[in-house]
Amino acid sequence: MAQHVTVTTAVELTATQRKEVMQVAQAKAGTQEIELKEVVNPAVIGGIRLTIGSKQYDATVLNQLETLRNLA
């Protein structure tokens, strides 16, 4: 069964970016079989969020701002 991967960005991925994301996702998921779902959501402001199964790597500007708020 293919692993579900969701990638969320503020703007649409370019072809090269898509290829890079695929490579990273395959490495993180540990399998070649990946079903990539792209979500464009301007609310994340910038950066990228990668969700593999129930594991999430959040490198969006939105998440950084939230982490910053929790620091104070």
């Binding site: 969700t51 129930s54 594991k55 999430q56 790597y57 490198a59 982490t67 910053l68």
Partner: protein
């Protein structure tokens, strides 16, 4: 300029902790939400009892781990939750922040201050669910926990590390016994944790201001989940209180924990369990409600010196309906604890304070912790009371009694009377001893029953003023020496002569 730079360095300091790398987080998606229960898909590697971040600072507790979904109980009201929103695992098992600064504070079961005195510095996190200390870490109960209540300290003594249930109908003074005990710990080097479960906020604020007024907050922590808090929070409160007590236990301290009350705790757990669709058993309580309470109360202990020598004494409270002690939760907790103090509404209405039913109340381990002097006076007193109860029933049939019986009745009536005590006037053990001694030795036989209260408070003060060495001797020797008794005899005779107005008029 200087000010501005310190502001900037402050910010720089805070930003130093800002994580530059992206750590993977455990994420799940809300499938449904209702009645405080969130069903989440995802969260593959969540642990049972792990805290879940529901967003907006609200936390949940992962209680049901199913194959496809996780049942999470929201701890706050969590009204913002929408289907499809992400929730995150925190990697933190259910725990409460602890610190020595907690003393004097009022916190909720998650350690959030409720008294408006600001944050306390967190020294660490104590797990709420913990395995109780093992057999090799313990020693038997040998030190008394003085409640300051004559009837309890003399007849149903409690030792440090014991679990003594306080049981009775509503309005029989259960909380009063517990709070009186807290008040009496002011010079006993005991830290008190008062856990309120499902209580009215008005009662709680009253309790808090009372403890504050009497200086008892100096050694007390209040853990509060009031009636308006979620069932999940009420369910966590006793565990949080015990975890805080264990923080002090680790420092070798003696701690007293009061759970007020565990019937509401069982009801909160029933609510949570039913909402999680767990199978229900007797009275719709889940099957593991006994295990819930036994594992909680098993954490009361007295550790041996190699393990710090501290203790946790537990005073759970159970509210009965119509004096029915054979209902499900009361029998459970009775069988778990080392004895019970049974309060009765009939006695309460008859003016007995505290309204303890001596026949049904027991303490299974406390008597080994009683000091010798108390044993010396409590023995004759119990006998006197038992005989009085027998005769009292018998004497109702006939008014014509022989003088010996009359005398015994008079003695018993007075002994029973001195056991009456206001809940907020705890007495030191040496004061209790001299009063009980005087009553059982018949020095009150000539005093009118209506004046016994005045006699008592006057006498305690009189001994302080004229023969304070009697008190010091009892405290030091822990028993009544012959010379102390002789001295006491002189003092009580002199005192009785001082107050002829209380004497029964002599018949010619």
């Amino acid at each position: 300029m200087a000010k501005k730079s310190s502001f900037l360095t402050d910010i720089e300091k805070k930003l130093k902790n800002f994580p530059s790398t992206t750590e993977p987080r455990l994420v799940g998606e809300v499938e449904s939400f209702g009645d405080g229960v969130v069903t989440v898909s995802g969260l593959d590697s969540i642990m049972a009892n792990e805290l879940v971040d529901l967003g907006r600072g609200e936390l949940g507790l992962a209680l049901n781990l199913n194959e496809e979904t996780v049942g999470v109980v929201a701890l706050g009201d969590a009204a913002h939750i929408t289907v499809g929103q992400p929730v995150y695992g925190t990697g933190r098992l259910l725990s409460v922040p602890v610190s020595n600064e907690l003393i004097g504070r009022v916190v909720d079961p998650l350690g959030t201050p409720l008294d408006g005195k600001g944050e306390f510095s967190i020294e660490g996190y104590e797990e709420m669910e913990k395995i109780a200390p093992g057999v090799m870490a313990r020693q038997s109960v040998s030190e008394p926990l003085q409640t300051g209540i004559k009837a309890i300290d003399a007849m149903i003594p409690i030792g440090r590390g014991q679990r003594e249930l306080i049981i009775g109908d509503r309005g029989t003074g259960k909380s009063a016994v517990a709070l009186g005990t807290i008040l009496n710990q002011h010079d006993q080097d005991v830290i008190c944790v008062y856990v309120a479960i499902g209580q009215k906020r008005s009662f709680l604020s009253q309790t808090h201001s009372l403890l504050e007024e009497r200086g008892a907050m100096k050694y007390t922590v209040m853990v509060v989940a009031s009636a308006s808090d979620t069932a999940a929070k009420q369910y966590l409160a006793p565990m949080a209180g015990t975890a805080i007590a264990e923080h002090f236990l680790k420092q070798g301290k003696d701690v007293l924990v009061i759970y007020d009350d565990l019937s509401k705790h069982a009801q909160a757990y029933r609510e949570v369990s039913l909402l999680l669709r767990r199978p229900s058993g007797r009275e719709a309580y889940p099957g593991d409600v006994f295990y819930l309470h036994s594992r909680l109360l098993e954490r009361a202990c007295r550790l041996n010196p190699e393990h710090g020598g501290g203790s946790i004494t537990a005073l759970p409270i159970i509210e009965t309906q119509a004096n029915d002690v054979s209902a499900y939760i009361p029998t459970n907790v009775i069988s778990i604890t080392d004895g019970q103090i049974y309060l009765e509404s009939d006695l309460f209405n008859a003016g007995v304070r505290p309204a303890i039913n001596v026949g049904l109340s027991v303490s299974r381990v406390g008597s080994s912790a009683q000091i010798k002097a108390m044993k010396q006076v409590a023995g004759p007193m119990k006998l006197e009371l038992a005989q009085y109860r027998d005769l009292e029933a018998f004497s109702q049939f006939s008014s014509d009694l022989d003088p010996a019986t009359k005398k015994q009745l008079a003695r018993g009536e007075r002994v029973a009377k001195i056991l009456n005590q206001g809940w907020d006037t705890p007495l030191a053990v040496q004061e209790q001893i001299v009063v009980i001694w005087a009553a059982t030795r018949g020095y009150l036989d000539g005093i009118q029953v209506d004046h016994i209260r005045e006699w008592e408070s006057g006498f305690i003060q009189h001994v302080h003023d004229t023969a304070d060495d009697i008190y010091t001797s009892i405290v030091k020797e822990k028993k009544l020496l012959d010379e102390t008794e002789t001295a006491l005899k002189k003092v009580v005779e002199a005192y009785n002569e001082l107050h002829p107005e209380w004497h029964i008029a002599k018949e010619e």
